[in-house]
């Protein structure tokens, strides 16, 4: 970047920039810092005015409480299974569709692509009732009916997630198809043609030339798919039923807290009596530690891979 203006002016504009950037960064970071600090804060620090962020009484009690009362390991396992499997399935399905749209000509291509755009724009709530009923009485071309006599109920299993992902209709998959199409269209055709002349078939060209060249966009799609699936409360609420994923575990946690407060439930956790549950700030502290447990894996994931996220959007092919 070339420099313009007098030194004083440059200093001033730098200062303005610095003030705004740190100010907004503070607003973004404040809730995250609070989340982390409260998770390790003993309840007696809540009313200590000398404690702002760094707890005087460091404790793992809150986390232990949240861990046990929402049965974190089980919910975490379910969520992990769904998130990793859907990320891989979505990436493969949308990549193939994106390649199909980018490189081949076939009848109704424009109509199909309009459908992709439609799937980006339409709110998923429009399809939720038929999808819910569909997965409740699931059948594919009458095969399941023929084998077992009645359609299968897939609610409560991870299958609805897998089916939606494998067919490229998971969370914001239309956008992924669009991104892949843009990325593949931008690649030179010559390498592919050379490989075809050398006798490779189209599938091999796809897996051995196009996919390795699209690693950047693949990483972006994988990462976004993980983040959106992890944060999703809509589909998990719709499909999981009694099998818990993290959002349901959090609901369970909240209802435990309510029951404890009302004196209705037996405590699953032995140290519940240590907390003064009539105090809303203590309730908030406990709820905070549950949210911390749910968000921590995602934040760690982001901390390690943040470079790929930022670069990913910048070269996503949306621009230019």
């Amino acid at each position: 970047m070339h420099k313009t203006g007098s030194p004083a002016r440059r200093f001033f504009s730098g200062l303005v920039r610095f003030v705004f950037l740190t100010g907004f960064a503070f607003v973004i970071l404040y809730p995250v810092v609070t989340l982390v600090s409260k998770a390790f804060m003993h309840q007696q620090d809540l009313y200590d005015n000398t404690v702002l962020w760094i707890p005087k009484h460091f404790t793992l009690e809150n986390i232990e409480f949240a861990w046990k009362s929402m049965d974190f390991p089980a919910a975490f396992k379910n969520s992990m299974l769904v998130v990793t499997a859907t990320a891989v399935l979505q990436t493969v399905a949308t990549m193939m569709a994106g390649y199909g749209f980018a490189r081949f000509n076939f009848p109704l291509k424009k109509v199909f692509f309009a459908m992709v755009l439609l799937s980006i724009v339409l709110p998923p709530q429009l399809m939720m009732i038929p999808q819910y009923m569909h997965f409740k009485n699931f059948d594919f071309l009458g095969i399941i009916q023929a084998v077992s006599g009645k359609p299968a109920n897939l609610l409560g299993s991870p299958w609805p997630f897998f089916i939606l992902s494998a067919t490229g209709f998971g969370i914001r998959n239309g956008l992924f198809i669009y991104l892949f199409r843009q990325a593949f269209r931008a690649m030179p055709k010559e390498t592919e043609e050379a490989a075809l002349v050398d006798g490779a078939n189209h599938f091999r060209v796809f897996t051995q030339i196009m996919v390795p060249n699209a690693m950047g966009i693949i990483a972006t799609v994988l990462l976004f798919s993980v983040v959106w699936q992890w944060n999703d409360t809509f589909y998990s609420g719709l499909f999981t039923g009694n099998t818990k994923m993290l959002p349901q575990a959090f609901d369970l946690f909240n209802s435990y807290l309510r029951d404890f407060t009302g004196g209705r439930a037996e405590s699953v956790v032995e140290n519940i009596s240590r907390y003064d549950l009539t105090d809303p700030n203590v309730l908030k502290l406990l709820r905070n530690s549950a949210v911390f447990l749910i968000m921590a894996p995602l934040l760690a994931f982001y901390a390690v891979l943040q470079r790929f996220f930022v670069e990913g959007i910048e070269r996503s092919g949306l621009v230019g």
């Binding site: 404040y30 569709a97 076939f106 490229g168 809509f234 700030n281 968000m295 996503s316």
Partner: protein
Amino acid sequence: MVSRLKNKRFHLSLAAKDRLRGYAFLAPWLIGLIMVFLVPLVQSIIYAFSRLDFQVSSGSSYSLTFIGWENFRYILLEDKDYPQYLVKVLGDLLYNVPVILVFSFFVALLLKKRTRGTAIVKAIYFLPVILSSGIFLGLQNNFGQNSMSALEQTMQSASSSISVLKSMNLEKYLVEMNIPQEYIALLTGPIDRLYSMILSSGVQIFIFLAALNSISPSLYEAAEVEGATGWENFWYITFPMTMPMLLVNLIFTIIDSFTSVNNVVMEYVYDTAFVDLNFGLSSAMGWLYCLILFAVMGIAVGLISRRVFYYT
């Protein structure tokens, strides 16, 4: 038999092969298109014009009665919540979209200059995309906790982390300056919504940033030779060159806020279906909402796209 098939394929024209390969790559998506997209879409249109009655005795079976426009008539004329929520969502949209667009453009301009620590700053500004979780937001705004008592909620929001970012002092100050109440609300509104605004402009900032970085430096060099000021640079180079991305961001912002799960209309649609078990009514609400979304998007895109400048 096999050899005959092979022969036949061998004689397919190039275009026909292209067609087959295209469909082969699209195969999983095409199955999905029919099974989990088009069929549900048509079903939900049918539901919107029907009443669904469940037979509890016989498990999951239900009967469908066609009732014409009755659901829509009910929503518009009798339902007391839906029109109210709809107006609220539209009002928020009208207010939020310009604010988010201006804000994210501003931040992108600030982030454009490369200095030491840019990578870390970018990582922080990208964080809102990661934090877009209903659960995390619930902790910040106390929504989705209807089960709490009113007292609990007030006490919580008083101690909530966001209250730190509210403009209490500014508001007091402005009142003392005898500025009319309406103008104060206009001024303090964006500050009170600063957090939610920043949270919903994560992707937009980076789209603008990419657009800014793709402007060729030679344009600025030429302008400098001609003696253009920074102000002129901005309005005659930076702004027109990023206009196409303004359109993209506009569409993204509208869709993002319209389809968000935390949107009151969407919550109402969900509850009508799964709490009141009124599937027909819920579908009708969803479709009405969707038509309004298309109308809003059509107007917004129509207004902007005529002014967009494409540099080719």
